[in-house]
């Protein structure tokens, strides 16, 4: 089954990339007060069991995809993900 992991810089954590993007958007004339840049990982799993997928995705997010010290992650499971 398909899944998507969204990784974001934690709230309050400096995000120089987001700041640069926000500044660029303001330069273009967009009324933007803030921008934060994260990462998206599309994963295709062998299993069709949502619970099993959820467990595996949480583990892979903690172990590799995100660094919990500075990043949070959310998992979306299913073909719409």
């Amino acid at each position: 089954m398909k899944a998507t992991v969204l990784i974001r810089p934690k709230e309050g954590i400096l995000d120089p990339q987001g700041e640069a993007v926000g500044e660029a958007l303001r330069t273009l004339g967009f009324a933007v007060t803030s921008a934060r840049v994260g990462r998206l990982v599309d994963v295709e799993l062998e299993t069709d069991d949502p619970a099993e997928a959820e467990t595996a995705l949480a583990a892979m997010s903690r172990d590799l995809l995100a660094n919990p010290m500075i990043e949070s992650f959310t998992i979306e499971i299913g073909d719409d993900a």
């Binding site: 954590i13 400096l14 120089p16 990339q17 700041e19 640069a20 990462r39 590799l64 995809l65 660094n67 010290m69 500075i70």
Partner: protein, 229 residues
Amino acid sequence: MSDGPRIAVVTFPGSNDDGDATLALELLGAAPVRVWHAETALPEGTAGVVLPGGFSYGDYLRCGAIARFAPVMEAVSAFARAGGPVLGICNGFQILCEAGLLPGVLRQNRQQQFICADVTITVESTASAFAGTWKVGQELVIPIKHGEGNWYGDADLLAPLEARGQIAFRYADDVNGAVGRIAGVTNEAGNVLGLMPHPEHAVDPLLGPTGGVAVLEGLLDAARVSVAH
């Protein structure tokens, strides 16, 4: 071949300061041995390990995040747990942080720029196995060259590090936004050291500053003790 301490210099795909690290260690009288990341054991008689600078796995995901799972890292972790001295330089520092062998994490530089410059760092603590000849307040000029050298740890992490003397080096000036101007940290046991500046590029007066000698000599001192035990 030198009869100095045998130092394993690990090469990951994308490492690019492994050669300079090897040359610098040879210059200082060590017997460096190159080790490929796919090895599952360190060479016999290894007395110290260097994880060199570079861009392992293209810095994909986060710097060091993928290299920490390289086969050789289990052997490096076991070596560190047994008290063997491990030095991580730049990308090597990032790998050690991702592997949980050192505290904190290296973020993108605050100014969003890759910085390449000679910087002054100050010895903050002599609590580690590397610091036999270091003096608190001693200044070392060593080049940095990194885009993600902005060390971060929250207040709960930082306070005990400061109290235990795990902050090895600070930048004299704020160069990248690192919390507390931290340039290098050690683990609690004091046998694992990581720093963003490149001591292996600062050992020959012909090529500029020589602040790296004290850092690498620190590794050699720790390695000699590690062999003696």
